[in-house]
């Protein structure tokens, strides 16, 4: 039996003195895809941000173990170096640094070694082609003036390049048209080779038409109220989250 990749035990999180997560438990093994669904305000994005170490959220109880070590003392960049990645719901726009230069710096920082410029350029080009991104985006400032769809592609591109052990996808499919969802799904499939894992946070199932999850969890009011297989997705489509309200 392999040890769990991610183990969240009785996690309690506050933001500005308001409790958001109220004793959340979750375990993931290497190679698994988990989906977290839930109504707005249930704590889905909070979970994503807390896993990455956002300073705004205060962990008041419980544990997060990743690859067998406690991540609570680690800063966001150290978590990234350990193999965690977050695809943001609303990616930031950063002026003055091109997507390519930024991603090369990030790759060097995550892998803790020098990145060869030409080799990197080739890798980037290949992944951008896969994601149907125009090559000139590499020379544009990071996410600046990108459309909603291009921003999400940029997130998936970063995921493919940085190649984390566990990618958390926070509402990556929300606000995307059918075509963009198809491209994002293509990227996700490329990423999900044998031992890479994924935690997909969503509140609709468009992405799930392309990707078969191993487990589905319902997050309601700061707790996971039900877990099961892919069939749960259909169930929630029919019954809605209301059935699970505390």
């Amino acid at each position: 039996m392999t040890q769990p990749l991610l183990k969240i035990k009785d996690l309690q999180v506050h933001i500005e003195d308001k409790q958001i997560l109220k004793g959340l438990n979750l375990e993931m093994k290497e190679g698994e895809i988990h989906v977290i669904m839930g109504p707005n305000g249930a704590g889905k994005s909070t979970l994503a941000n807390v896993l990455m170490g956002h300073p705004k959220y205060e962990v008041v109880g419980g544990e997060i173990e990743f690859c067998g070590s406690d991540v609570s003392p680690l800063k966001p960049h150290e978590r990234a170096q350990l193999g965690l990645f977050l695809s943001f719901q609303y990616p930031q726009e950063i002026a003055g640094i091109t997507l390519e230069n930024f991603l090369r710096s990030a790759k060097g920082a995550v892998d803790q070694k020098q990145v060869k410029v030409l080799e990197f350029h080739k890798l980037l080009k290949a992944k951008m082609e896969l994601l149907e991104m125009k090559p000139e985006y590499a020379e544009r400032y990071l996410n600046l003036g990108f459309s909603g769809g291009e921003k999400k592609k940029s997130e998936i591109l970063q995921m493919l390049i940085l190649d984390p052990k566990l990618a958390i996808m926070d509402e990556t499919d929300s606000g995307l048209d059918v075509d963009a969802v198809r491209v994002v799904a293509k990227g996700v499939k490329e990423y999900h080779h044998i031992d890479n894992s994924m935690l997909i946070i969503t509140h609709h199932k468009s992405l799930l038409e392309y990707i078969e999850p191993d487990f589905v969890h319902f997050l309601v009011d700061g707790q996971i109220v039900e877990s099961g297989g892919p069939e749960l997705v259909e169930h929630v489509e029919q019954a809605g989250f209301a059935a699970y309200k505390a």
């Binding site: 966001p76 960049h77 978590r79 930031q92 640094i97 920082a109």
Partner: protein, 468 residues
Amino acid sequence: MTRNKTYVADIERKLYDQRNPFTYSHKTDKGLTPEIIREISAQKNEPEWMLEFRLRSLETYYQLDLPPWGPNLIELDIDNIVTYVKPIVDRQYSWEDIPDDIKQTFDLLGIPKAEHEFLAGVGAQYDSEVVYHSIQESVAKEGVVYLDMETAVHEYEDLIKEYFMSLVTPRDHKFAALHGAVWSGGSFVYIPAGVKVEIPLQSYFRSNAPGAGQFEHTLIIVEPGSYLHFIEGCSAPRYSVNNLHAGCVELFVREGSTLRYSTIENWSRNMFNLNTKRALVERDGAIEWVSGSFGSKVSMLYPMSILQGERARAEFTGVTFAGGGQILDTGAKVVHAAPHTTSTINTKSISKGGGTAIYRGLIKVTKNAYHSKSTVSCESLILDNESISDTIPVMQIDTDQVDLGHEAKIGRISDEAIFYLMTRGIDEEEARAMIVRGFVEPISKELPLEYAVEMNNLVKLELEGTIG
């Protein structure tokens, strides 16, 4: 969670703060009297008309008051500033002949190396006098003149007499009058019609003497259809007494010519930098200002472009970095005085550690300047809660047929942006540096390469504390 304050390092000044023992061959007494003016003029062996010009300027200086707006200049005690300091060296045309301590200063600043590698000519001024001046033979052959002002007064007396302080007159303001009275050093450049100087000329102004003023005069004439890139660098070591820099730059851009004027100013933090720069641009001509202001205690600097001929064009690109104890009041002025003229002003400022960065600018469009266009964009980044930034744009428009755009943004580094970068494996310090460098990037790419590198070093950030 405790959060320490973010600390951004001061600009590394070690290099600039190298001071040499203060030696001189001639130095005027402190304060300002006609006798001192006569003494300066006699030292320079000037023609009578220049002495008279100086004495008239001194009269004007006495008559004018300090400006009623802008930073407080009370601390500036002109009576305690030595106006003229002549280093113990005559002007040389070979670096070998310059005394070791002075040569070493310029070596450290990288000037001879830069001359060797990518400049067409170099002037180096130490305190009040130019100690070195040279120009590449190939450039000189085309009729390009690049001289220190003292030599130019003798060799090109008619030109100097006609143009000297005709664009910035001593009546302009109190410090222009002061400049007219005590000016010393600087450069004279003349580019004949149709000559395009492909590699830049550079003058470097170094102030070493404590409690002294620097009053260099730069006069450039680019005749029709020519091109020049002129680079000006300034620095000084720090002393406990205040210094004053009141230079003057007059640029004459003839029909269809382009002049690019780049300045990197990194005076020490006891310098009052009250500099006046002005360009007169004729038909189809262009002035391109690139300006980096990093040093000084107080700066008041608003280069002015007068677009006198049709389709004349002005571009101003500026970056200001104000640290603790600094008040940098900078900007640009453009007068559209002919039809179809255009101006573009782009500035960025960073303030930190209690520093103040102000953009102050003027766009004036005269009645006959129809179909003119002006775009102004000012962005400020404030790195902490003690620092101040403000934008004071003034527009005086006397015609309806004009296209004007103004945009001002004042911001801080967002915690969400830092978090975003950190989730990509980049530590907080580097994440901040990336954002600050990215902020000034559109400007730094306009700077001459060696200065762009220097500017990136300036924003090298040292941080303690944490967001994560």
